[in-house]
């Protein structure tokens, strides 16, 4: 059945991310979402391709730009929208917002709004799995900017030293907010650098979702068999502003021509065109229904009781 093929799965996952975020962008001006949102529109290949290579019991660690990873790993969309709406049925009970999505049952570690902080936390989870001799794998998503924080090098050193079951995935969109790599990296040699720490490195320079999946699958299999930790660089392009629902080509920090080149290679279309129109339609409808249901769920969900302000400070 085409609808359960790899292409269909990658299409479905990416489409769900894209459309969910387009809805977020649509709703945002109504002020129903009182939370800073960092959209992954255009970057869907990374989360979708990597998560396709995982088992449900595997774990992903996401960032504040985390809708994509959350959705791709299969965490409930309803709870995500409810969280964005600040409702009690949100995945973090309305206490986390868009920057702190979490779903432990689905193997989604909570995201952090402080860049880089989740990197060692993800490695800590991998350490726990190793100590308990579980065969699960952790995937740690991070941005290109996050690799500049010292904790990144500290963590990959330790991960190799203890052979932790972890794959680091750099969603490399070339920018940290408005600052390009050239203003932040002394050289572009990230992969060779990571290699010197002993990780097994993989690169997807064109962000093709099929290749992302293949490379991730190889890396994950290797890790599951006891290999060294992996590092996967995925080149992607952020279509929207750093934070917020709009576009930002008018402000001048990046080149719209480059954007257009990336749009031409839209990872969703790239997968979509390998599917029949019928399959695409089936999936598209499924996606729309899911999103509509999630938004309705969020709208209808109750506000948290004000007393909840004081609960859960301590476990």
């Amino acid at each position: 059945m085409e609808e359960t093929s790899l292409a269909a799965r990658l299409y479905r996952s990416q489409k769900l991310i894209r459309r969910a975020e387009e809805e977020i962008a649509r709703i945002y001006p109504t002020d129903k979402i009182k939370s800073p949102v960092h959209l992954s529109i255009g970057q869907e290949a990374a989360a979708a391709g990597v998560c396709e290579a995982l088992q449900p019991e595997d774990i992903v660690s996401i960032t504040y730009r985390g809708h994509a990873g959350y959705i791709a790993k299969g965490a409930p969309l309803k709870k995500m929208f409810a969280e964005l709406f600040g409702k009690s049925l949100g995945c973090a009970a309305g206490k986390g917002g868009s920057m702190h999505l979490v779903s432990m049952q689905d193997g989604v570690l909570g995201a952090s709004a402080v860049v880089g902080t989740t990197i060692p936390v993800a490695a800590g989870v991998a350490l726990a799995l190793k100590q308990r001799q579980e065969k699960r794998v952790v995937v740690c998503f991070l941005g290109d900017g996050a690799t500049e924080e010292g904790v990144f090098c500290e963590t990959i050193n330790f991960a190799v030293l203890k052979r932790l079951p972890i794959l680091f995935v750099c969603e490399n969109n070339g920018f940290a907010i408005h600052s390009p790599l050239s203003k932040r990296w002394s050289t572009l040699d990230l992969l060779s650098r990571v290699k010197t720490f002993g990780l097994s490195c993989h690169d997807v320079p064109d962000g093709n979702p099929f290749v992302v999946y293949q490379e991730a699958a190889k890396a994950v299999m290797d890790i599951r068999r006891g290999g060294v930790p992996g590092f996967l660089n995925v080149a992607v392009y952020r279509w929207k502003q750093h934070v917020g629902p709009g576009e930002d080509f008018h402000v001048g920090y990046r080149d719209q021509a480059e954007y257009k080149r990336w749009v031409k290679r839209d990872p969703i279309e790239l997968v979509g065109k390998t599917l029949s129109e019928k399959t695409r339609n089936v999936i598209d409808n499924e996606v729309e229904e899911k999103i509509a249901a999630a938004i309705k769920f969020a709208e209808d969900a109750p506000w948290p009781n004000q007393l909840e302000t004081f609960s859960q400070v301590y476990a």
Partner: protein, 352 residues
């Protein structure tokens, strides 16, 4: 001959202060994530990279720890860095350099070096900033000798404090607040300084002394209006400088009013409010005074607007707390919704 004052926003005042110190002293430079983009740290650094060039105004990699050490080293070598952080929460990444190096260098090296640096950092608030983008952590820095801490509440003080901070020979933690950038005050065009260690009596009163920190000064002024309605006259004090702290002015006021409430933009436990209450209690040891504190709820900051509202002190909670302290026998009092609404909307124009 002093030039005329204009009405400036807080962000414009900081921008102007920076331009002036950089014009006057070639050793001043400005850096930090995003200081050179089109948003310019809420407008406070807009135009500066164009004006002074990349050598003196530049963005950085995401490496707060190293960047802080670099600021320290450059200061030891005679430069005067201004290092900017878009959120105060990120200072937790460079505590080692701030606490273990910057604060201690002058002393630990027997007075042979100085560390004239300014660390600008912004307290976030509202719109689901949440746990990690909302913290006012100034109290942590007040704990450690060797650091100075400033928290100007209006455009006039912002400009004068920043100039004073840059010219000071010590590491200064400069605390700004997201909701203050749009507030306006009369700000002189010329270079002027707001000195460390001098609190300001923002408005006089007889029944209770209310100390407000950072943008809580504005909330306290609103509470003051509400309290007028029930015949309570409150004296509002803005410490401006948290370390050194002008306890004299505060204690003198409390001596008069017999009541002290400190409203902080941060947690109360081991906070600036604890320090002020404890110090005033010690100073006025021979008389009975009543003291209390308000600040963030003793919880992590939630994002849902429903919960976020409970988290922060506001004019109503300040007024209610004051009322119950000043009139302990009275039945509970809650300002009318209209009064509360009105208070929230009142804008105050500095300088206070």
């Amino acid at each position: 001959m002093p030039k005329a004052s204009r009405i400036l926003s807080y962000f414009e005042a900081l921008n102007e202060a920076t331009v002036q110190v950089m014009e006057n002293d070639p050793s001043v430079f400005l850096f930090g994530l995003d200081v050179d983009d089109h948003l310019g740290i809420n407008g406070t650094t807009l135009g500066l990279s164009q004006r002074f060039g990349e050598g003196r105004v530049f963005g950085t990699p995401l490496s707060e720890d190293a960047m802080t050490g670099i600021a320290i080293g450059s200061a030891m070598a005679g430069q005067r860095p201004i290092h900017v952080h878009i959120r105060m929460d990120f200072l937790m990444l460079c505590m080692n350099q701030l606490i273990n190096v910057a604060a201690k260098a002058h002393y630990m090296y027997g007075g042979t070096v100085k560390v004239p640096m300014v660390v600008r950092s912004i307290i976030g608030k509202s719109w689901g900033q949440g746990a990690q983008h909302s913290q006012g952590l100034h109290s942590l820095f007040m704990h450690v000798p060797g650091l100075k801490v400033l928290a100007p509440s209006n455009a006039y003080d912002a400009k004068g404090c920043l100039i004073e901070a840059v010219e000071d020979d010590n590491p200064v933690i400069f605390v700004e607040h997201r909701l203050l950038y749009g507030t306006k005050a009369e700000v002189p065009e010329e270079v002027y300084r707001v000195p460390f260690g001098k609190a300001k009596v923002v408005c006089e009163g007889n029944d209770v002394t209310i100390v407000g920190i950072s943008n809580m000064v504005v909330e306290c002024l609103r509470a003051n209006k509400i309290l007028e309605g029930v015949g309570i006259s409150s004296e509002i004090i803005d410490p401006v400088s948290l370390m050194p702290l002008d306890l004299k002015t505060i204690a003198a006021s409390v001596k008069k009013t017999g009541h002290l409430i400190v409203v902080d933009n941060g947690w109360t436990a081991c906070g600036a409010s604890a320090e002020i209450v404890a110090s005033v209690s010690e100073l006025l040891g021979d008389r009975l005074i009543k003291t209390t504190r308000l600040g963030y709820q003793p919880t992590t900051c939630p994002t849902s607007p429903v919960l976020e509202k409970v988290f922060y002190p506001n004019p109503v909670t300040i007024a209610e707390k004051t009322f119950s302290m000043v009139k302990p026998g009275s039945p509970e009092w809650h300002p009318s919704p209209e009064l509360a609404e009105l208070a929230y909307q009142t804008e105050f124009k500095g300088p206070f």
